[in-house]
């Protein structure tokens, strides 16, 4: 009797090898799902009383807090979009084989190693009022007064481009290399022009990969925190939502309110992710000619 049971389960894919999944499942339940649910329930137990939704009410009725959502999206969406769009033509020119490809790829990827603080220090030094860029612009009489590019929106934006672009480029190049070049050659044989080949063959095959790349760079940009403080204007134009959550937790020691902000942050981010995923699911998702 038990033998047939095991047999039936095995037919559906349940057998002893599933135990291998156990450590990872326990781990993700203990360190991700449980803390998340704990934070969720904590967010409904406001420190100062006032009902289950008091934290959320407080967040959404306070314009200083509520506006952090728009501030974050205003920084993260354009930065992620620019990184992906800039990566496409560059990756496009770097696919295939040619001399110096490895060197060029390496140069484009190296900024990953810079880290937030070196980027921040560099932006402050280089773009600051007495930095090299302003010196050059003043020297060439392009501007009369030093332009302000740090301690505001642009400082954070540049820092996100510097750290996000290499990452986006690497992913796009990887997706692009996965597209079988013979497909394009076949189209060329049938008389398709270069633009037609890009629009009708490469772009549709690349689009799901672009969506994924956009998502991952968006997640990076959305959680921007150190650079918003270091090169931004953390009290004003770059007061992002992660900063609001951090201040609630570690400056006011109100973990309940901080959890509520973290939940709002997660929901806003997941809404963007969901929109992109829905759009992506309507694209072609089959083989791109590459091997698995």
């Amino acid at each position: 009797m038990s033998a047939t049971w095991q047999h039936r389960l095995a037919e559906r894919g349940v057998d002893r090898r599933l135990w291998l999944l156990l450590p990872a499942t326990i781990f993700v339940l203990l360190l991700f799902v449980y803390p998340f649910l704990y934070g969720l329930s904590l967010s409904f137990q406001p420190l100062n009383g006032g009902g289950v939704l008091a934290n959320y009410n407080e967040f959404f009725s306070d314009a200083y807090q509520r506006d952090t959502i728009a501030t974050t999206l205003k920084i993260a969406l354009p930065a992620a979009l620019l990184n992906v769009l800039a990566a496409v033509p560059i990756a496009f020119r770097l696919r295939g084989r040619f001399r110096g490809k490895r060197l060029l790829t390496t140069i484009l990827v190296v900024p990953i190693t810079l880290g937030t603080v070196l980027t921040a220090q560099g932006l402050l030094n280089y773009l600051g009022p007495t930095g090299w860029l302003n010196r050059i612009l003043l020297g060439l009489h392009i501007v009369d007064n030093p332009i302000r590019l740090t301690n505001n929106y642009w400082g954070v934006f540049f820092s996100l481009v510097i750290t996000g672009f290499p990452f986006a480029f690497l992913l796009v190049l990887s997706y692009l290399s996965g597209i079988d070049p013979t497909l394009e050659r076949a189209a060329a044989t049938l008389g398709a022009s270069k633009a037609q080949r890009f629009r009708r063959i490469t772009l549709p095959l690349l689009a799901p990969g672009l969506a994924t790349t956009f998502l991952l760079t968006f997640v990076l940009a959305f959680s921007v925190f150190p650079s918003a403080v270091l090169v931004g204007n953390p009290a004003g134009s770059t007061r992002v939502i992660s900063l609001a959550a951090y201040q609630a937790a570690y400056e006011q020691y109100d973990y309940s309110y901080a959890s509520a902000i973290a939940m709002v942050m997660g929901v806003v981010e997941l809404v963007v992710v969901a929109i992109v995923l829905v759009w992506r699911s309507r694209l072609y998702t089959g083989s791109t000619g590459g091997k698995g």
């Binding site: 894919g13 349940v14 090898r17 599933l18 291998l20 999944l21 450590p23 990872a24 499942t25 781990f27 993700v28 360190l31 991700f32 803390p35 998340f36 934070g39 969720l40 904590l42 560059i90 020119r93 295939g96 084989r97 040619f98 140069i107 990827v109 990953i112 190693t113 937030t116 603080v117 070196l118 220090q121 560099g122 932006l123 030094n125 280089y126 090299w132 860029l133 672009f165 190049l173 990887s174 290399s177 996965g178 991952l216 959680s223 925190f225 150190p226 403080v229 992660s242 959550a245 951090y246 973990y255 959890s259 973290a262 997660g266 981010e269 997941l270 992710v273 791109t288 091997k291 698995g292």
Partner: protein
């Protein structure tokens, strides 16, 4: 194939060049400053010195910080591979009820900003006495690392022909022997790739370490952040020197990584186009 350059191509290369000239300016300004004596309103500092490196080394107890960074990263790499690789094997090989749900649960920590789950996680870790110590930092960093190992290993495992395993089993090899003698050697490239990528990610991970580290368990990124946000107390140049040390360390890791991982084959594995 040679690089054929069209007018559009020139525009693209010009934009890339412009980006890199400015990026070089950003990096060089830190490098020059870290060796500079006094640098106010001039093109270059009025003298060069290496004193800031010595000062950064002593003031920020960099030796201790680097030991912590390497220890945390090594522990995270070993643990996430040990936990992640078997799960990747099951997800690559088998279909079972609830697979999509399991997959989504593993995907979420990568799709969520670290601060979102980091704050509740830090609260829980404080409750159980892990946060503020090395163990808390390691546990927090495992949250995105284990899923990352699973996602990078799965395609590598899918490439191994299951018939090799079946053949070994038919010849009498047990599960343990199949794993150690057949799968492990074939998966060395995949294991290395995911291990190195996790290493680079962990050394650079700011948010989770920041939320869970105590004074003795800071990694280099977090120590750097504190030294810079407490500006005015310490010379800016020693922060610059420290940032240069961090970047040098990351650069070594990246160069090692690029030796083992072909960056163009991260998500799709194809043979390179033969040269024409």
């Amino acid at each position: 194939m040679r690089l054929r350059t069209t007018p559009l191509g020139w525009v693209i290369w010009a934009v890339v060049a412009f980006f890199f000239v400015n990026l070089a300016g950003v990096v060089l300004s830190v490098l020059v400053s870290s060796f500079g004596r006094r640098w106010f309103d001039t093109w270059l500092p009025n003298g060069f010195t290496t004193q800031w490196y010595g000062e950064a080394w002593r003031e920020f107890t960099l030796f201790h910080v680097i030991v912590v960074t390497l220890l945390v990263s090594a522990l995270v790499v070993v643990l996430s591979v040990l936990v992640g690789a078997p799960a990747a094997y099951v997800l690559a090989r088998k279909n079972f009820p609830g697979k999509r749900l399991v997959y989504l649960t593993f995907l979420l920590p990568i799709l969520m900003p670290p601060i979102t789950y980091g704050i509740p996680l830090a609260t829980v870790l404080y409750k159980f006495g892990f946060a503020g110590h090395l163990s808390g930092v390691v546990l927090a960093n495992l949250v995105p690392s284990v899923p990352f190992v699973i996602l990078t290993m799965t395609p590598f495992i899918e490439q191994v022909d299951p018939r090799i395993e079946d053949a070994a089993r038919m010849l009498g090899a047990g599960t343990r022997a199949v794993f150690l003698k057949i799968l492990a050697p074939l998966l060395v490239p995949g294991l290395l790739a995911s291990a190195i990528l996790v290493l680079v990610r962990t050394v650079g991970m700011f948010e989770l370490t920041f939320l869970t580290a105590g004074p003795d368990s800071q990694t280099l990124v977090v120590a750097l952040y504190y030294s810079m946000s407490a500006a005015g107390i310490r010379a800016q140049q020693s922060v610059d020197a420290m940032a240069v040390i961090y970047t040098a360390m990351m650069l070594v890791l990246l160069v090692v990584a690029l030796r083992f991982v072909n960056p163009t084959q991260l998500v799709a594995r194809v043979k390179e186009e033969p040269s024409e």
